[in-house]
Amino acid sequence: MMGISNIVSTIERKYIYKLLKKGKRIDGRELFDIREISIKTNIIPKAEGSADIELGKTRVICGIKYDIGSPFSDSPDEGVATCMAEFVPFASPMFEGGPPTIDSIELARIIDRGIRHGNCIDYKKLCIKKEKYCYILFIDIYIMNYYGNLIDASGVAAIAALISAVIPSAKLTLDETNIEWDGKFMPIPINELPIQITFGKIDDIVFIDPSLPEELIQDGRISFAITESNKISSIQKSGPALWEQDEIIKLSRIAIQKANDLRKKLNLRQYIPKL
């Protein structure tokens, strides 16, 4: 509340903690309330897909681009999708410009895993010719304003951009030596939409969707990616906090419930392109 920096004042730390002990958050939320989310898709004309997400004051823009390449040798009949995250310096005075920091790399990999193991993209349908040609999707996440919980915001941005994307469909040329456009467009083949749910922890108090002041003083966090079929598709424990086994299981159940509520509320399938 008093400027943003790595050094949180002692009184703010005390204030947030005192509130948490009473089950309240500094912005008035309950321990397990998620902030308001707003979604805008198709905002970047030259991107195949795009989404502009606001989770409270955290703002993330995700763009989808594609390229044609060859499948990896260990998955010869599958296309490829890769995530990148850029912490734009104007998103926070704590972000310095320059090459990707470890935090931006961790974020990209978390979102990547949530998508990869969440039965999200149908990689087989992204393969054009086995062992030779496939789509490579680039899921590029740009953090525009940082006010806590980049993971959940980026997760929504990525799936909103993916589900609303339109890519040109490809076919082999007659002599089968190359790929060309077959004149049509298609959506990205998506099965399920994974949702990320992150919890922060200070001492032994756990809360959902940390906002910036909480994130700056928390001891650690844990994020769950939840599939539409109510399964956990990935987990990331970050920060030096320690967790009990039953704590984690309990939180995973809360995450599933919250992910379902969020999914219903956001109704992401409304963004599927009508072709």
């Binding site: 005390k14 030259k46 681009k65 594609y66 044609i68 310096p89 410009g97 680039f138 740009y142 006010y147």
Partner: protein
């Protein structure tokens, strides 16, 4: 491998009816809109949409330079970092800045520096980050415009705002505000940014094939276009504060309706009485008067009770 749909190449940029590919006249500018104060963690920010360009600019500063030796002892340093998002262009760009981005950063710095009073901030830096999320011809000019707005939004004193656009030449004719296609396929590209207060040129580049007379025409066209952009910029600034004012007028009406009239009658509200904003800005190089025009009664302000420094803060 090149992607499936290459960017369209156009031979004819000016159609039979004298209009351009997007229907514009030769001297017509693309739609422009802007907003200030869009990034809450910055000291100042702006968002600009110009044609297909979508650009954010965020400012930090003036603030201490770290490491100290990068600062200057007699004036502040302005640093601009211009970057483009990977998805802002047709073929995915690399996220790392390329030489073009670094060059553009420098020419924006050179364009904006004359509009600032950098001598006010020795050993300090003003840092501006520009992110182009969608690009479509004339990005460096629209970016400079955004930087200018963001600095004004940060409350940094400025001599003037600036606005710019690119002129060009298509099928032999001088055109104003090049679109993407015109930028790429035209016979000249002239990004140019001017100062609002005196029309002096603060950014100028040229690539192409023109006589001095054609260049003269092109720059005059740019000035014409820039004036239209300035108009939009000032409207946006007014609107931001007038919207707040309108909302408060509604509130006042509600208040009157709810019969809370006694408090309204008791407190005087002429314009002079309401404006008590003391300007902390102070500089010997600029005309200033020590005008103490308010009576902030600081005694009312005293902290009643708090802990002395000797005490521990353990509970």
């Amino acid at each position: 491998m090149p992607i499936l749909l290459p960017e369209k190449k156009h031979e004819k940029l000016i159609l039979e009816n004298g209009k351009r590919l997007d229907g514009r006249d030769l001297d017509e500018i693309r739609p422009f809109k802007c907003e200030i104060g869009v990034l809450s963690n910055t000291d100042g920010s702006a968002y600009v949409e110009h044609g297909g360009n979508k650009i954010f600019a965020g400012v930090y500063g003036p603030r201490e330079v770290h490491p100290k030796h990068l600062g200057l002892p007699d004036r502040g340093v302005l640093k601009v970092y211009y970057r483009m998002a990977t998805f802002s262009v047709h073929e995915r760009a690399s996220p790392a800045p390329n030489r073009r981005a670094l060059e553009i950063s420098k020419i924006i710095e050179d364009a904006i520096t004359p509009t600032l009073f950098l001598e006010l901030y020795p050993d300090s830096a003003i840092e501006v980050y520009v992110m182009v999320i969608a690009a479509s011809g004339g990005t460096r000019c629209a970016s400079t415009t955004a930087v200018s707005l963001a600095l004004a939004d940060a409350g940094i004193p400025m001599k003037t705002l600036v606005a710019g656009l690119a002129a060009g030449k298509a099928n032999g004719k001088i055109i104003l505000d090049c679109s993407d296609e015109e930028d790429k396929a035209g016979e000249a590209d002239i990004p140019c940014v001017i100062q609002m207060k005196d029309e002096k040129i603060c950014l100028l580049q040229f690539d192409g094939d023109m006589t001095p007379e054609e260049l003269d025409t092109a720059i005059s066209l740019v000035k014409k276009g820039a004036k239209q952009i300035f108009q939009k910029m000032t409207e946006a600034i007014h609107q931001k504060f007038e919207n707040i004012q309108k909302e408060t007028e509604l509130e006042i009406e509600k208040m009157i309706q709810q019969q809370d009239i006694d408090s309204i009658n008791n407190i005087e509200s002429t314009i002079e009485n309401e404006t008590e904003m003391k300007n902390e800005y102070d500089n010997i190089d600029i005309n200033k008067k020590d005008f103490d025009f308010n009576n902030i009664d600081n005694k009312k302000n005293k902290l009643e009770e708090f802990d002395e420094e000797e005490e521990d803060f353990e509970q």
